[in-house]
């Protein structure tokens, strides 16, 4: 076998130009498939990353009425929805899929935040507990974060994200300055941003589309203990959990929601907690892009088929050309199977080399495409393995007819062949 492979490589080397031309179909086919798959994978990973967050695996658990979330900005909470106690929170933390859980209040407000000169025309006000930043993957980039005393002493301190900071302070250092939230004065103690700085803060489909349309409003964070100072009464909290892994996000959301639902005593049984299944939504988006690209792969496969037929054609020519060699080898005692394996190996080595060149071409092509369309590239290991295996298989399949022809050659006729 080793000898066959050696001979096959020598054969390819001895006929460099012909080998390259023979491989061309395979190179193009494998190359375009690798390029497409890499671009798909890159796009998919981008979708997933954008939607699911940069590896923080945060899942929002929200109260739904039927298909829609209950927006507490517009309606008061229904009876039978208890506050989430710290015991219930512990219960959720104990779930296998949940790494960390956090409660928070949130309001989308217009014209509620100002520093006396500038006013935020839109934005989100968050009342957070000590875990929230970890769960959501925020980090403090300037100043300090919340400390225990902020919560315990009901300190009126506030953290701003980059957008809120620049809208309110337009470039000047906001730390130590005072802003008003619904008329209450708060001291700015720091700036926050999402950990993966290149990635946008996206926690929902709405955020995703907002990000996609390139608009974003600021985020203003206060300790949850001071929430009643702004809003006067205890509101139901929102829950966010951090799943142990991206794949556990769906389960983490469902199980956390189930824990909360067990405490509901609402009369309207369409009111339920539900995990916002971003993973599922990401998958749907990905499937959409997969479906379009699947068709491209089919087209590329046709060029592989053409490439395979090209290999068969050249191998048939080669078998005829080498009739005397085959006759000689048979005279020297080569069994049919030896001749068969020799030619199959040759075909497989040819297509395998075509496949490897195709992979290289495909990767280059993927980077060229991404350069043009700014879609990211993710080279897929399994796709490369499949390409290698598949190109070898093409050689074996399309090499079969010529190889059988060679193996069945009559040695006398072969030796007589001029």
């Amino acid at each position: 076998m080793l000898e066959n492979i050696r001979l096959a490589f020598q054969g390819v080397w001895d006929h460099k130009l012909r080998s390259i031309l023979t491989m061309l179909g395979i190179i193009i086919g494998i190359g375009s498939i690798i390029a497409i798959v890499s671009t798909i994978k890159g796009t998919n990973e981008q979708i997933k990353e954008n939607l699911v967050g940069s590896g923080n695996n945060a899942v929002n658990i929200q109260l739904y009425q039927g298909e829609w979330t209950l927006d507490l900005s517009y309606q008061s909470p229904p009876d039978g929805v208890p506050l989430i106690s710290s015991e219930v929170l512990e219960e959720i933390r104990d779930l296998d899929e949940v790494a960390e859980a956090s409660l928070y209040y949130t309001r989308n407000e217009y014209d509620a935040v100002s520093n006396g000169v500038q006013t935020l025309t839109g934005g989100t006000i968050l009342g957070v507990d000590a875990n929230y930043f970890d769960v959501y993957g925020y980090q403090v980039t300037k100043g300090r974060g919340f400390v225990e005393k902020d919560f315990a002493d009901y300190r009126k301190v506030v953290l701003l994200d980059k957008i809120a900071a620049s809208n309110l302070f337009s470039g000047t250092d906001p730390i130590g300055k005072t802003i008003e939230i619904k008329g209450e004065p708060f001291t700015v103690i720091g700036l926050i941003s999402k950990k993966a700085t290149a990635q946008p803060v996206i926690n929902s489909m709405e955020d995703y589309y907002r990000y996609m349309s390139n608009s974003s409003s600021g985020v203003v964070c206060v300790p949850d203990t001071v929430w009643p100072i702004i809003y006067r009464f205890d509101e139901p909290q929102n829950l966010v959990v951090q799943a142990v892994s991206t794949d556990a996000m769906t389960d983490a959301g469902e199980k956390s929601a189930a824990v909360l639902n067990a405490y509901l005593t609402v009369s309207d049984d369409t009111i339920r907690y539900k995990g916002e299944d971003l993973l599922e939504q990401a998958n749907q988006l990905q499937e959409l892009s997969n479906a379009t690209n699947q068709q491209l792969i089919w087209i590329a496969s046709i060029s592989l088929l053409v490439g395979g037929i090209g290999v068969m054609n050249i191998m048939l020519v080669s078998v005829t050309e080498r009739t005397r060699e085959i006759g000689l080898k048979k005279a020297l005692g080569a069994k049919k199977s030896k001749i068969l394996v020799q030619f199959l190996t040759e075909a497989a080595v040819l297509t395998l080399m075509g496949g490897i060149l195709g992979i290289i071409v495909g990767i280059i092509l993927a980077y060229v495409i991404s350069g043009i369309s700014s879609a990211p590239v993710a080279i897929s290991g399994p796709a490369i393995a499949v390409a290698v295996a598949f190109s070898t298989l093409i050689g074996v399949v399309f090499g079969m007819v010529p190889s059988v022809k060679a193996a069945n050659m009559n040695p006398i006729d072969a030796l007589r062949h001029e």
Partner: protein, 260 residues
């Protein structure tokens, strides 16, 4: 008896016509013999050699090699016999042009399942035996005709076959290289190799210890002419009687005259 062909017939089909090529050929060869088979072009020499070499099967008749009847041998068994019992030398050398002399000679050992290291070792030994130790890494295009044929002979003997079968081994060589090849055959035969050589050249045939004639598919000169030292025996079908010339010279000066 190493080789026993009895009443071999071989027909070819051509344009739906049966063409008889070998007609009742009987040939017995003892181990260590050196037999030449002579005959004009188209008389069936190569056909006979193909049958002896297990490349072809007779239409009828029996063929025993080393006491085994080859009638029931399948394709794989015939391949194995060709590999282990027969060494072929062709008129046109049939070397693989892209491979070195060493690799060419080692080729039959590949089909015998010998390891690469041993293959190359034995190939070098065989090349040494034909006097080409200094040409092991040469490719056929870098060799003269005589050298090419000696590489081919090395390839034929590398497996230590029972029979060396040569079909017009000097047909493509000048007389000097032809003589070298004949010397080599003589030497191999002296070492015990059974040699069957096909030729249409009487001078070449005279190197053999027994000469047979084939004419129009009929082999003659079969019966009981014993080989004795320094004497070549020739029998021809024409006239029915054996006609031979005695000579007592060295091999180089040997002159052979066949009478019609």
């Amino acid at each position: 008896m190493i080789l026993r062909l009895d009443h071999i017939f071989k027909d070819y089909m051509q344009d739906k016509m049966v063409v008889p090529v070998l007609k009742d050929v009987t040939l017995h060869v003892e181990r260590g013999e050196y037999v030449a088979i002579m005959g004009p072009s188209g008389s069936g020499k190569t056909t006979l050699m193909n049958i002896i070499g297990c490349l072809d099967i007779p239409t009828s008749g029996t063929y025993q090699l080393n006491g085994n009847d080859l009638k029931d041998c399948g394709d794989n068994e015939l391949s194995q016999i060709r590999n282990q019992s027969i060494g072929f030398v062709f008129q046109t050398f049939n070397l693989l042009p892209k491979q070195t002399a060493r690799d060419n000679v080692a080729l039959p050992l590949l089909y015998a399942g010998v390891s690469r290291r041993e293959r190359l070792e034995r190939a070098e030994k065989a090349l040494e035996k034909v006097g080409l130790s200094d040409r092991v890494d040469f490719k056929p295009t870098q060799l003269s005709g005589g050298q090419k044929q000696r590489v081919a002979i090395a390839r034929a003997i590398v497996t230590n076959p029972d029979i060396l079968l040569a079909d017009e081994p000097t047909g493509a060589l000048d007389s000097a290289s032809g003589r070298q090849v004949m010397e080599l055959f003589g030497k191999l035969n002296k070492e015990g190799m059974t040699v069957i050589m096909i030729t249409h050249d009487a001078e070449i045939a005279s190197h053999a210890k027994r000469v047979m004639m084939i004419r129009d598919g009929i082999l003659s000169g079969m019966n009981g002419v014993k080989v004795s030292a320094g004497r070549r025996d020739v029998q021809e079908e024409d006239g029915g009687d054996a006609v031979w010339e005695e000579y007592a010279g060295g091999e180089e000066e040997t002159q052979f005259e066949g009478e019609e």
